[in-house]
Amino acid sequence: MSVPYRIALVAGRELRAERRQPDGVVAAVTFIAVLVLLESLVVGPSIARDTDVASALFWLALAFATILATMRSFDRELEDDALEGLVALPGGRDALFGGKVLSLATVLLLVAVVGGILSIVLLDLRIALPLHLLVVVLLGVLALPPIVVVDVVLALRLRARAALVPILALPVLVPQLVAATRGTSAALSGDAVGALSWAGLLFAFAVVYTVIGLTIVPAAIE
């Protein structure tokens, strides 16, 4: 069996469990919805509708959703030692990172689409460059999971793992979050060049961290 096939299998297993217990998706969507509701209720719609503020909140919520979803995914694996069952399979170690990243990106894409539509409708945002926006969101969604999965795996056996993951992940994520926010803001306000150059940066992040993850994680698991 080839590695991509196995990665797809791991992702499929994950997505099926996630469909049964849609922890990540719904939590993230509600979070974004409430964030938007509360923001506009408290600071007034004019500030909340500011493209910078709106996109910053959106990506923050998404980053947090990534961390949450990844941690829950591994929590589920640790119950009844399911992760050990997977790693003990021949090639299991190599497929783990890819499978997790793939399934998480799928989930996050869903969250981003729903959350994005919610933000746009609720805040009555005007989108100057819809296609650019789509590209930025897609690349942003691909750039978030690899680093978070690596961090969760690194912290897996450690005592304070739940504490460690945000500490490890968030600082590393800040550049990506800034890039995603700037890119989104640019797409919303009609700055095509800005949107594309930020998107390029996001793409670079996604590639670099995915390569690092595929190389490092198999060794880091045991």
Partner: protein
């Protein structure tokens, strides 16, 4: 090299957890047939099986063997949220095997009616049975079973003994760590006594 093909071996393997030595310089060659691991609580049986499966880093020494291992530990290792059938299908597909035998195996293990319920809603014994059905669905040459009789009723235990005997007769390597069922001793080719991390092959 039949032994290595269907087995695994440890050479001078030492395992350290929490700065305590858990396995001490273990030399072990697991080949076809039944290898029985006996030893008191906390002596290192689970750690030994995990070392054979390549799941625990060795502080010293090394492990040889193909990756083709089926390890079932104290816990059933099935992912919650999925049904018993879905769990087994995943494992079989991952090994590139044929999923058609799964229904039959689960039914033979007595969880036919329950195979489409999420595993976290099964009773302890039902979950164990679903996990053990993997021995039949994944035709793996090296089996590592840690306390597999736990939670099984008499019929389940009988079935497991038969399964172990059949696997042994098929030339598979079977390593079982258990406190129960002294009558297994007769089936065993090798009996290992482990105490405080030291493996005694002469038992």
């Amino acid at each position: 090299m039949r032994t290595v093909q269907s087995g695994a071996s440890l050479h001078d393997a030492t395992v350290v957890l929490d700065d305590r030595v858990i396995l001490r310089a273990v030399n072990l060659d697991v080949g076809p047939g039944l290898t029985l691991v006996r030893g008191p609580n906390g002596s290192g049986k689970t750690t030994l099986l995990r070392a054979l499966a390549g799941l625990v880093p060795l502080a010293r020494g090394d492990r040889k063997g193909s990756g083709d291992v089926l390890y079932i530990g104290h816990r059933p290792m099935l992912l919650r949220g999925l049904t018993a059938r879905e769990n087994l299908e995943f494992f079989v597909r991952f090994r590139g095997g044929d999923t058609r035998g799964i229904d039959g195996a689960l039914r033979a293990w007595g969880v036919g009616e329950d195979m489409d319920r999420p595993v976290e809603r099964l009773s302890a014994g039902e979950r164990r049975r679903a996990a053990l059905a993997r021995v039949e669905t994944e035709g793996v040459p090296l089996l590592l079973l840690d306390e597999p009789f736990a939670d099984l009723d008499d019929a389940g235990s009988r079935r497991l003994r038969q399964t172990i005997a059949r696997a042994r007769d098929d030339g598979r390597s079977v390593v079982v760590a258990t406190h129960a069922h002294p009558e297994l001793d007769e089936l065993a080719k090798t009996r290992l006594a482990i105490d405080d991390g030291v493996v005694d092959t002469a038992a």
